[in-house]
């Protein structure tokens, strides 16, 4: 009963909906109304010929309007940040004292900020670092957390107790307190931010995967591998981890969103990447100094794009959870 976790960042939504999709005609809005009753049905079963579980999951994802909206939004934001600067050239390195806090105009569609950077161009530049760090954190934290959780759940016993107590310890220290701690000593760099945010984010996937590994390790196919002389390493890497891939993917999606939010908060507390590096969090926190001067363009574009990105990743995560039939929270 130790696997009670409720990752607050990844609330369980539409749990029931996805269950209808597999092995049945495509669900309609009405058909999913009472989907909760079908929850007990196992995955797969009699898959129609030529349609793998992945194809069905993909179909279920494509049927989810919010998921598609999220995906389109993320693609649009990524294009905006990475392709945009190729078309829209701005100077984001040297401040321009003659162009401070200009309102939007044809030359500067979103105006300029407090040191004369073009806000639209800075949104693109800031998005690059924010998205890169967010993705990197999700990858690093997930890889590490999944291995930790799979080993803990598979081996069980003393190893499990020790590994899980370490997770508990890290969970007991609110991350923001640790960030402030660390940031007073080290000068934030992209690498350091990735390491620090990951170091505190891996515990989520670790707990989730451990919970799954606990139930997977007694399955017949795992026992069969063991009987055939399969090594523990092989069992963990080839059998346990691949079977938790749904949980992993869904959780990683939410982690990108959470990392972007954490980075924004750190910038506000003064522990973000130092200028001239552009980040959304940095833009938003600098802009808030001018919130009462009526310089709305210094604040709202950054705030809105952060919110949009976070919502988009959450939409994708929710749709993936339904498509892959993942229950992130178990009791």
């Amino acid at each position: 009963m130790s696997d009670i976790p409720a990752t607050p960042s990844a609330p369980n939504q539409h749990t029931a909906d996805g269950a209808v999709a597999i092995g049945q005609p495509l669900p309609t809005a009405a058909g999913t109304e009472d989907g909760g009753l079908d929850q007990a049905m196992p995955t797969g079963g009699d898959t129609p010929a030529g349609r793998s579980a992945w194809r069905l999951a993909l179909q279920s994802f494509l049927d989810n309007k919010l998921g598609i909206a999220g995906l389109v939004l993320v693609i649009a934001i990524v294009l905006f940040c990475f392709v945009g600067p190729l078309v829209y050239h701005t100077n984001q390195i040297s401040p321009n004292a003659a162009q401070i806090n200009l309102p939007p105009s044809t030359r500067h569609p979103l105006g300029t900020d407090y040191v004369g950077f073009d806000v639209l161009g800075r949104l693109m530049a800031g998005g690059q670092s924010s998205i890169e760090i967010g993705l990197a954190v999700a990858v690093v934290a997930t890889l590490f957390g999944v291995l930790w959780g799979a080993i803990s759940g598979y081996l069980g016993g003393v190893v499990d107790s020790v590994l899980m107590r370490i997770v508990d310890i890290i969970l007991a220290i609110p991350s923001i307190f640790l960030f402030i701690y660390l940031a007073t000593v080290f000068k934030p760099t992209v690498g350091l931010l990735i390491v620090v945010v990951s170091a505190l984010s891996w515990v989520g996937p670790a707990r989730l995967v451990r919970g799954e590994a606990l139930s997977l390790r007694v399955r017949e196919y795992v026992q069969a591998v063991r009987v055939m002389g399969g090594h523990s390493t092989r069992i963990v890497l080839r059998h346990i981890v691949p079977n938790t891939v749904g949980t992993i993917v869904v959780n990683a999606t939410f982690q990108v969103a959470d990392a972007i939010l954490i980075l924004a908060t750190l910038s506000f507390l003064g522990f973000g990447l130092p200028p001239p590096a552009a980040t959304w969090g940095g833009m938003l926190s600098e802009g808030t100094n001018y919130l009462y001067d009526g310089y709305w363009w210094a604040v709202y574009p950054a705030g809105i794009i952060i919110a949009l990105t976070v919502i988009a990743f959450n939409f994708i995560g929710d749709a993936l959870r339904d498509a892959l039939e993942v229950r992130l929270q178990r009791r």
Binding site: P11, N12, D168, I176, I180, V185, A257, T288, L308
Partner: protein
């Protein structure tokens, strides 16, 4: 149950000791010995003064000895002495903690009072207007950095409408804080909204799961009125996971609390921690980190126990 309790509390003690070790090591990574002394008493300190400082705080001892000393004092309820404030850390915490109980406690209660009924309403009227509004609201609130939400509230209610002050009430004790209720409105409101975003989606899905359970169908089949069904069966069962939810959300709530205190200049633990970090007041930082870890672990243990008490199906062997 007794065996479970004992095991759970032993685990908690191990975790708390782990938290103190990590906090202590991090502290010592930041600065030790003469470097620390220089940071605190200033770059022009004489070597005499530095020696005295090091001797006073026992900084010349090996780290394990210092840690043991710290742990021993902690067991006696003594968290050390501030480098900057000429006060013991205990005194500082004793002064700030009650104010945080007001801020964090009231916003926690308020957010639950909103999230629980709304979550149930969303589950009952799934995919209807209430559900869409509730889901949209929680997504919106969740996607905004906490400070940004607070600043928007200030911009709307303090700057534009001029209804409420932008700064939290100032004062050294709870009485002084409560004497200015208008100043409390915005900090409590923004923390309530943040907590609501943490809770609402969880409440909704928990109520949806419960609605699909057999006992609800049975109760319906018996011909119970919908109102009775919701109030007696669904509400009670949906309350069970709330204990777990609150217990596990504590780190997030405390983090949001720190940011809110910073934005509204609310004189509480979070702001004290922030200022201590900026001014290198390490004993205060360490004390607060340990206290927050303690609160989190205690919250989780209480949540586990509460869960077992509330749900008779849960059996711990």
């Amino acid at each position: 149950m007794t065996g479970f309790l004992i095991r759970r509390i032993l685990q908690a003690i191990i975790v708390v000791i782990g938290v103190t070790i990590i906090a202590f090591i991090l502290q010592n990574l930041i600065a030790t010995g003469p470097a620390l002394a220089h940071t605190i008493i200033g770059p022009r300190a004489t070597s005499q003064q530095i020696h005295e400082f090091i001797a006073t705080y026992g900084l010349n001892q090996p780290m394990p000895v210092q840690y043991w000393h710290f742990l021993w004092q902690l067991l006696h309820g003594n968290l050390g002495y501030s480098f900057k404030e000429n006060q013991s850390v205990d005194a500082i915490l004793g002064q700030q903690l009650p104010k945080d109980v007001v801020l964090v406690g009231s916003s926690l209660v308020l957010s639950l009072l909103i999230a629980i009924p709304l979550g149930i309403a969303q589950a009952v009227r799934r995919n209807r207007l209430v559900d869409h509004v509730g889901t949209g609201l929680s997504f919106l609130l969740y996607s905004m950095p906490t400070y940004w939400l607070s600043l928007l509230l200030i911009a709307a209610f303090s700057v534009s409408l001029q209804w409420l002050p932008a700064e939290a009430p100032q004062g050294t004790n709870v009485g002084q804080i409560l004497a200015d209720p208008a100043g409390l409105v915005l900090p409590i409101a923004s923390l309530t909204l943040v907590n609501y975003a943490l809770f609402s989606r969880y409440m909704r899905s928990s109520a949806i799961e419960n609605l699909a359970q057999d006992y609800i169908r049975t109760a319906r089949a018996k011909g119970l009125s919908e109102r009775y069904l919701l109030a007696r069966h669904l509400l009670r069962n949906s309350l069970i996971p709330v204990t777990t939810m609150v217990g596990l959300s504590l780190p997030g709530i405390l983090t949001a609390g720190l940011v809110t205190e910073y934005v509204f200049n609310f004189p509480g633990i979070g702001l004290t921690f922030f200022n201590a970090a900026v001014t290198s007041d390490y004993p205060v930082e360490l004390g607060i980190a340990v206290l927050v870890g303690l609160v989190t672990v205690a919250g989780n243990v209480l949540a586990d126990i509460g869960y077992a008490v509330l749900d008779p199906r849960v059996r711990y062997e």
